[in-house]
Every structure is written in C-alpha cells, then in structure tokens.
Amino acid sequence: MKLVYFAWVRERIGRAEEEIDLPAQVQTVSDLLSYLQSRGEGYASALVRPEVIRVAIDREHARHEARISGASEIALFPPMTGG
C-alpha cells in the first residue's frame, strides 16, 4: 500500500511517501495510525495527537473508523489551511 504525507506530517515523518506492507490486523484508519506510531520517533512525533490527523483514502476524505482494505493510496495530513 502506498502512504503519502503532507505538511508537518511529512516533515516530522521525514519523507513524502512510502510503500508499506501492513500486518493483517491493521484494518481501519485508526489501526493504521496506531501501527505507524510504533515505527519510530518521526512517526510518533507526527502522530502524537492522532485525533487531529486528517486522512484520505484514494484521494477522498475518510473518517478514522473507515476500513482500508482495497485502498491503493492513503494520505495523512494536518487540518487544511488553503483558500
């Protein structure tokens, strides 16, 4: 699965995107955030307050309860500040 990161999530994790094989028990966005937190300091710092992280599954906004099976690209980013 491809993960992409934006803004301070990208900066703290230290990369803009990566391919990752997820364990079978990672089924929802929420599971994914918990799993990523354990991958190192950068991830832990980016996801220290998982409730503020916004998520898109295949380029559409998704809630933390959403299931991720079948997704090809998941994006994690802070609340948006465009306009």
């Binding site: 559409e60 980013f77 948006m80």
Partner: protein, 157 residues
Amino acid sequence: MPSSLAPTIRVQREDFDLAGEVAWLTGGRTDVGAVVTFSGLCRDEEGTLAALELEHYPGMAEGEIERIAEDALDRWPLTGMTVIHRFGRIRPGENIVLVVAASHHRHAAFEAASFLMDYLKTRAPFWKKEHPQDRAEGGWVEAKEADDEATARWRKG
C-alpha cells in the same frame, strides 16, 4: 441553459487574471445578471512575512474542488463557475485563490461564492507555511475553528 454546467477548475503555480476569468463566464451571452468574484490574497499585517509556501495534494486537490463545485451547482441556479487555487511560493500582496460565481440573479451568485470559499478552506487539501523575513525556517499555519463553523452553517438540517 444546459443543466450539466461544467465548472472551470484549475490548480496552478501561475497567477490568474480576474477580469479575463469574468469575461470567460459572461462573454457572448446576455442571460447573466450577476457575477460575484472572491479573491484571496497573501496578507502580511505585521510586515514580517517574506512569503507563504502553499503545499497541495496533486490529484486530490482538483478532485475535492470538483466535488465542492458540483455541490454548489446542485444548490444554486448558476450560469457559470470558476475556481482557481495557486500553489508554491506566494508573496504578500499576491493572489492565492479565485472564486467566480455567475447567475441570473445576485442572491445565488453571492451564496454560491461564499459556500465555495467556506468549503475550500476546510476540505480542499492545501496547507500554508509561513516564511518570515528574519529566519529561514517558518511555521505551518494552524487551521481555525471559525472556518469549520463557517462550513458547518451550510449543512442541510
């Protein structure tokens, strides 16, 4: 009027020409009675900002603006709509975003432009980073609760 009006949506690094965009929606037709434009500019009230860096999610940014635009077209009888959002380095005084809503009457055009901006601010994947004049590394602009509240008022009850 065709019922399937296609909005013009562009996500681009370059600046835009407001007058040209309005002319595109009104040229050669006589049924447009109202055009509302909103331009969002990079502002620097304190005189300390060198530039804003606008980051976006290519692909999703266009798709999300498209969804917002379709929603606006469902809600109001518009004759035309244009949304342009810039990315990259933008200095104080320069344009960031343009919304143009055209309709037979002003009410729909005003409301649609306001709706589009409220949703763009809270749903379109763009992020602003400030580059201050006095140091190289800036900070990310924080999302405002007032923007979420402004978006929430459009939700159908």
